[in-house]
């Protein structure tokens, strides 16, 4: 692949999808290197379970490969956006099956009454604390916060992924971030932040 790396690097994900459909083996490697970390990160932060996140990421990538045959290079959705959407839906399904997606936005307004995340976090482990705090958010809010503030997507992209309006996404991310801040506010010393 090293000989072809410069060529692949110049190609957008959509073009690589077409190459993949045409039998190019290198396209799969490049797409995997570009998209799998995002899918895994998204799923891991939303589910809070690494093994399940790996299964979701693999399943989402499998669906991406299968979609390649009918992929329109200049279609409305970029492969990364398409993949985020698949991951979001798979995570939603997984959380519903496990009964962890019953929280509503209304319930979130009373999140101050929820148990402290302190018992759930490992002292000094910021990522564990973040995951614990994220787990307290309603599923849609969690998805929006992860996509906006961890994956770095724009609000219109998130709106497309979650099938929401842009204003709804702005509301979800703002409330989610406030909730995260509140959940972590008492843990600053344990996390090594200035208090």
């Amino acid at each position: 692949m090293s000989d072809d790396a410069p060529t692949y690097a110049a190609l957008r994900d959509g073009a690589l999808m077409v190459l993949f459909a045409n039998g190019d083996p290198g396209a799969a490697r490049v797409l995997t290197a570009r998209l799998l970390p995002r899918a895994l990160s998204h799923a891991a932060r939303v589910l809070g379970d690494r093994a399940e996140a790996e299964d979701i990421a693999q399943e989402a990538m499998l669906r991406l490969w299968r979609a390649a045959a009918d992929w329109a290079q200049d279609g409305p959705a970029a492969p990364a956006t398409w993949l985020y959407r698949v991951v979001a839906n798979l995570c939603t399904d997984r959380l519903r099956k496990s009964g962890q997606s019953t929280l509503t936005d209304e319930a979130d307004r009373h999140s101050d009454t929820r148990p402290s995340v302190e018992a759930q976090m490992i002292a000094g482990d910021r990522m564990a604390a973040l995951d614990a705090a994220l787990a307290l958010l309603p599923e849609r809010q969690r998805q929006a916060v992860v996509l906006r503030h961890i994956e770095g997507l724009s609000n219109p992209e998130i709106a497309m992924i979650l099938d929401l309006g842009v204003e709804a996404v702005e509301s979800l991310t703002a409330r989610g971030k406030r909730a995260l801040s509140a959940a972590l506010s008492d843990k600053k010393e344990a996390l090594g932040y200035d208090s």
Binding site: E54, K188, D194
Partner: protein, 121 residues
């Protein structure tokens, strides 16, 4: 601590989370194996059925393709030329049958008149 400071620290935590996920090689291998399997299926799949030949192509094929179609056309043109330029020959070859059928008007009497020089027709 100010609200801004809290916000800044939360942003730092979220940004560090972005880089925190590392993809295990085993997962990469599983994903690439899936890709190879799907790709092999795509390559092995039969091409989509082509649209059938049109009715002109079917007629051409029934006549033996282009060579057959050329022969039929040539025979038709030759017959038409004979009928126009030597109608009596055709009538003779038919044993006078054409004259009987047409009431001795010939095969194309009106057209024959058109070729007569000085005709007012």
């Amino acid at each position: 601590m100010t609200v801004e400071r809290d916000e800044e620290q939360l942003d730092q935590l979220l940004q560090s989370a972005r880089a925190a996920v590392t993809v295990p090689d085993t997962l990469v291998a599983r994903v690439l194996a899936d890709a190879a399997r799907v790709q092999a299926t795509m390559q092995a799949a039969p091409p989509p059925p082509r649209k059938g030949p049109g009715w002109l192509a079917e007629i051409r094929a029934a006549l033996g393709g282009w060579p057959g179609l050329s022969g039929v056309t040539l025979a038709g043109v030759a017959g038409l030329a004979l009928g126009i330029f030597a109608p009596d020959l055709v009538d003779g070859l038919s044993g006078g049958q054409i004259g009987v059928w047409t009431g001795d008007l010939g095969s194309l009497p009106e057209i024959g008149l058109l070729w007569e020089e000085g005709s007012d027709v």
